[in-house]
Symmetry: C2
Subunit: 321 residues, 2 copies
C-alpha cells in the first residue's frame, strides 16, 4: 500500500475543473497499490479512483497502460476504465506527477484463495487475454527472462545475507532458465501481475481485475505461470495441485492451451517465481525509510523457487498420486 | 495515516455475521487516522467505517468514546455514529483488537483553512460543546496541563537535539503554564483534537466532525485554544488574527464566552501548543520503523510555542493595528 503524494483540496478542485463530474464530496487516500498513490474520490457524479503515478511507473509507459485499460473495458472485460477529461485526455498531472481518473470497482480481494477462486482466476485470465487481442500497442516485458541475470548481478550480497549459499543456487537457476526458456509460444497482452490482490470477487465469483501497471507483451502461458505461483501455494509453502488444476481448467474453458504451452508451464512457473523473488529482494533493500510501504518478504518466493527447482512436474500435475 | 491491522476476508465475514448489514461488497484500508486502522466498508446495506483500535487507544476508554459519539449523533450533531450489532454491542473484536463499525461520512477536509472555514470551525465546535451537555460519562484529560512536565522530563534530550537550548526554554514555559493555568472555567465534553483533518466541509460549509479519540472532560475554552493553534496559523508560521477572530466569533454565535474564558485564551493557547509539541516530539522519536505513519514534525508546534511566548496578546486580538 502507498500514499506518497499528498493532494490539497485546491489541487483536487483544479483537477476536477477539467472534467464534467461536478465537485468533490469525498476524498480518501486508500491503502492499495504498491507502485502508486491511490485515492477514492467521490464527486457529485459518482465514485472514481484517482491514481497518481510515482516514480516506479515510467511516464512513457502510461499511454500503453491507460490505452489497454480503455481497450479491455470497451471489449467488455471488467476492469477500471480511465475517464477522459473534457478534451479527451486520459493522462493528467498533479504536483508535477502524472495521474489518471479511473472508474470505481466494487468487490473484495481474497486473501486465501480456494480451488474455486483459482478456477475463476484462470477463467478471467483467459478472458483478459482474449479481450486484449487486437490492441495495437506493444510493450516489452522489462522484467522478463532477459532481465533476471543482470538484475541478480546487483543483488548477490543480499541473497547471501538472506540465506548463505543462496547466490550460487540462484545462479544455477538462472543458467537453467536461460538455456531452456521457451520461444515461439503464443503471445499478446498479458497482465504480468495477476495476483489475488489485483482481482475482485463478489459472492465467490470474479467481478473485476485491476492494477495493469506491469502489463506487457509476452507469452500468455507465462501469465498463467505467474498466476499459478500467486494463487496456488498454501500459506505453509506447499503447492496445491488441486488449486492449480482448477486454475488451468478454468483458463481452458475460454482459451485451450496448445501442447507446447502446457509443456512449458514448469519452466515458466520457475521463471515467474524468479521474477518475483528478484524484485522482492531488490525492494526489500531499496525501500526508503520514509515510504509508507511494507516491502513483501522475498523469502516467500525463495521457497517457491525451491519447490519448482525440486519438483518441476508438480506444475504439470504429474506428482505421484 | 495508518493501516496496521490486516483483516482477512474470512475475519470480515465473521464480523459482519453479527450485524444485519448483508455481505461485504467492498473493503479498503484508508489512509486516515493516526491512532487506529481505518477501513471503508461497503455492504449490501450501505457504506460504513470500520475502525480497529491500535495500542495507543486504551480499551477502557472506548466505552466513553463510542458512547459520546452515539450521544452526540442522537442529539443531532453530525458525527460518525457507532453501529450496534444484533445484540446491541458497539464494541467488537477483530484479531484480538477492539473495533467498531461507525456510519460513513461524506465531505472533504481542508488543508489550508480560510477565515470563512475558521468561522465554521468555531461555530461547529460550540455546537459540539452544547450537544455534549448532559453526557453522563467523564474522562480526565490525560494530556492536560498536569501531564506536561512529567512527559517533558523524558524528552529533554530530544528537545536539545531538535534545537540547542530548547530544553531550558520549554522548562520556562512549563513553569509559567503551571503557575498561571486557569481553574474553574466552564467545562464539559471537549473534542481536544479539533484539527482541520478531523472536520469535513462541503461547499465551504461544515458538514461533520470525527475522530473523537482524544475527547475528554476539560474546559471548553481549552478546546477553542487547541483549535486556534490548529486552524489559525499560516503555513509560514504567522498567526492569522483575522482567522482567529472569525473562529471565536463563529463559536460565540452559539455559545458566548464569559470574561474569564476570554481572558484565559492566551495561556490556554500557549498550553495547547505545548500539548501538541510534546506529543509530536515523543512520536517523532518513538514511531516504530515498521509503522505506516509519517510522524508530524514537532518543529511546527515549537514555532507556535515561540509565537505565544513572545506575543500572548495576539490570541486576544490585541496586537497593534
Amino acid at each position: 500500500m502507498a500514499v506518497y503524494t499528498d493532494i490539497s483540496d485546491e489541487e483536487l478542485a483544479g483537477l476536477l475543473a477539467d472534467y464534467d463530474l461536478g465537485a468533490a464530496v469525498g476524498f480518501k487516500g486508500v491503502a492499495e497499490g504498491i507502485e502508486n498513490s491511490n485515492f477514492l474520490l467521490e464527486t457529485e457524479a459518482g465514485r472514481y479512483f484517482l491514481t497518481v503515478y510515482e516514480k516506479r511507473v515510467a511516464p512513457e509507459d502510461l499511454p500503453f497502460f491507460l490505452g489497454l485499460m480503455q481497450w479491455l473495458a470497451r471489449r467488455g472485460f471488467p476492469c477500471a476504465t480511465p475517464i477522459a477529461d473534457r478534451e479527451g485526455r486520459l493522462l493528467k498531472t498533479l504536483r508535477g506527477k502524472p495521474c489518471a481518473l479511473v472508474s470505481y470497482l466494487s468487490g473484495l480481494s481474497v486473501r486465501r484463495p480456494t480451488a474455486a477462486h483459482c478456477r475463476e482466476a484462470g477463467q478471467s485470465l483467459a478472458w483478459l487475454h482474449l479481450a486484449g487481442e487486437g490492441f495495437a500497442m506493444r510493450r516489452e516485458n522489462d522484467l522478463g527472462q532477459a532481465a533476471w541475470a543482470p538484475l541478480f548481478s546487483t543483488l548477490k550480497d543480499q541473497a547471501e545475507a538472506l540465506k548463505p549459499g543462496l547466490a550460487a543456487t540462484i545462479d544455477g537457476d538462472l543458467e537453467k532458465l536461460a538455456a531452456g526458456w521457451p520461444k515461439g509460444l503464443p503471445e499478446g497482452v498479458i497482465h504480468a501481475d495477476y495476483f489475488p490482490d489485483n482481482v475482485f470477487f463478489q459472492a465467490q465469483r470474479f467481478v473485476a481485475a485491476f492494477d495493469f501497471y506491469f502489463a506487457c507483451t509476452d507469452s500468455y502461458a507465462y501469465d498463467i505461470a505467474v498466476a499459478l505461483n500467486a494463487w496456488c501455494f498454501e500459506p505453509g509453502g506447499d503447492f496445491n495441485i488441486t488449486a492449480a488444476r482448477q486454475l488451468v481448467a478454468g483458463y481452458e474453458t475460454r482459451r485451450p492451451l496448445s501442447d507446447a504451452e502446457r509443456a512449458a508451464l514448469p519452466i515458466l512457473a520457475h521463471g515467474a517465481a524468479m521474477r518475483f523473488f528478484l524484485t522482492r529482494l531488490h525492494d526489500w533493500e531499496a525501500t526508503p525509510a520514509g515510504a509508507l510501504v511494507r516491502p513483501k518478504d522475498p523469502l516467500e518466493y525463495e521457497r517457491k523457487l525451491a519447490v519448482h527447482r525440486a519438483s518441476p512436474d508438480l506444475v504439470l500435475f504429474g506428482a505421484p498420486a
